[in-house]
């Protein structure tokens, strides 16, 4: 039976959120990554084909925000095909919005 081997890669992910929100939680590969003033820095060796990132944004309805992110895997730049550039959004309903990235690495 054939087996698939996934190489362990060093993945670096950085993101900055700009906006007057109440709270930002960033979950990467299922774990909460603490941010400092809405700035996230992640540097880990992982054995996966995708980097899963979830931004949980809470605040007043009507609050606009911009997320800038960058990702490298083994030194090569990687992007999410749905969000290839800066993410511009607004908290529109129930004071909460969730944005998920799935970056092939």
């Amino acid at each position: 039976m054939p087996s698939t081997r996934i190489a362990i890669k060093e993945v670096k992910f950085n993101a900055t959120l700009v906006g007057s929100i109440d709270n930002l939680d960033v979950v990467i590969q299922g774990k909460l990554i603490l941010n400092q003033a809405f700035v996230v820095a992640y540097d880990q060796k992982i054995n996966s084909t995708k980097l899963q990132v979830i931004f949980q944004i809470s605040g007043f309805n009507g609050t606009g925000f911009t997320i800038q992110y960058s990702c490298t895997s083994a030194g090569k730049i990687k992007i999410d095909p749905v969000y290839p550039a800066d993410i511009i959004g607004t908290v529109a309903t129930n004071g909460y919005i969730e944005i998920s990235l799935s970056i092939p690495i």
Binding site: S20, D22, G30, G59, N61, G62, Y96
Partner: protein, 339 residues
């Protein structure tokens, strides 16, 4: 150690992130933080309130994330708990801001205090089970001491004794609660506060502007109003009293999507109970112009207050002249964060 700075213009009352809760025409309020990511955990704020009783104030607030080690970001429901402390100072200017800039006068009245705040952020499943609903609340216990140097005019005294100064020491203990909701597209903040204080009736006395600095010679008829008087030339007259006051206040702010989050409407009725007056009813209204794409950040607020609606202190004059007050509030808040 890294230091982050975020400038936020303006403030008023019940508005959110790093804003004052229960601020009013008297520039009262306790700034706390809802930027509860554990990094925006230090706040310095300064504000100016322009009205007939103008004031300047500054606050420092520090908070700690209590359940950081057990927090589960993917669970619903979930919550974050914070405990914070703050200190505040405020100086009133008897003669308005003019005296501040011209003579650096800050000693007409001084208020300093400390407060503790417990805040909780919660995330729950929406009623239809398809989304997440965010809300938060805060409970604030504050203790303030104040000092004021009051000036009195007593026309019944001999001419050279008609003007006097009285130093007043008071205190305020308050417990405040605010709940921040985001129903569908709108924003709503609801709060209540209970306080007891040792205060005076100075603000209810009639005031007079004495600018006559001429010297009138004669037996016992010499009165000099010094132009360099630190407290200016406004004097109160009437029966001065110190007393204990109990105040209960409700507070609601609505920021509707219908106005594209550009306007916030605030209402805050209150009741005062004291041994020297009948029950006293007050009401306040505020209109806030909010920063574009940042409805938690007021740029400026226009505050209307109707004090003592039932004239429990038996002041003279028309309803508007004795009860109605208006002011504009703005401030600069600086968030700093370290970990």
């Amino acid at each position: 150690m890294k230091l982050y700075l975020l400038l936020i213009l303006a403030s008023i009352s019940t508005l959110a992130s790093a804003q004052d809760y229960f601020q009013d025409r008297h520039n009262n309020g306790n700034p706390i933080i809802f930027s509860a990511d554990g990094s925006h955990n230090l706040l310095f704020s300064a504000g100016v309130n322009v009205s007939d009783k103008s004031s300047v104030k500054a606050n420092l607030y520090r908070q700690y994330w209590l359940n950081e080690s057990t927090y589960q970001p993917l669970a619903v429901p979930r919550q974050k708990d914070f405990l914070g402390w703050g200190i505040s100072i405020k100086a009133n200017l008897t003669n308005g801001l003019g005296s501040l800039f011209s003579a650096g006068n800050l000693n007409a009245a001084f208020n300093g205090g400390a407060y503790l705040a417990y805040t909780q952020l919660t995330w729950k499943t929406t009623a239809d089970g398809k989304g997440t609903y965010y809300s938060n609340w805060a409970l604030i216990l504050s203790q303030n001491l104040n000092y004021a140097s009051y000036q009195f005019f007593n026309p019944a005294q001999p001419y050279n004794n008609q003007l006097s100064v009285h130093n007043f020491h008071g205190q305020v203990t308050a417990l405040s609660y605010v709940l921040q909701l985001h129903p569908k597209k709108d924003n709503l903040l609801i709060g209540a506060s209970l306080s007891f204080s040792h205060r005076s009736n100075y603000d209810n006395l009639q005031s007079v502007l004495i600018t006559n600095d001429s010297l009138i010679s004669g037996a016992g008829k010499v009165r000099t109003v010094q132009e360099t008087n630190d407290n200016g030339n406004i004097y109160a007259f009437g029966r001065f009293q110190e007393y204990t006051n109990y105040n209960f206040r409700l507070n609601a702010t609505f920021i509707p999507a219908a106005f594209e989050y550009k306007v916030g409407f605030t209402i805050y009725p209150s009741v005062d109970i004291s041994p020297i007056y009948r029950v006293r009813y007050n009401a306040g209204l505020a209109l806030s112009y909010l920063k574009d794409k940042s409805p938690s950040t007021p740029i400026a607020s226009l505050i209307f207050e109707f004090d003592d609606l039932n004239n429990s202190s038996n002041r003279q004059g028309s309803f508007l002249s004795r009860s109605f007050n208006v002011s504009i509030a703005t401030s600069l808040n600086i968030l700093t964060g370290t970990r």
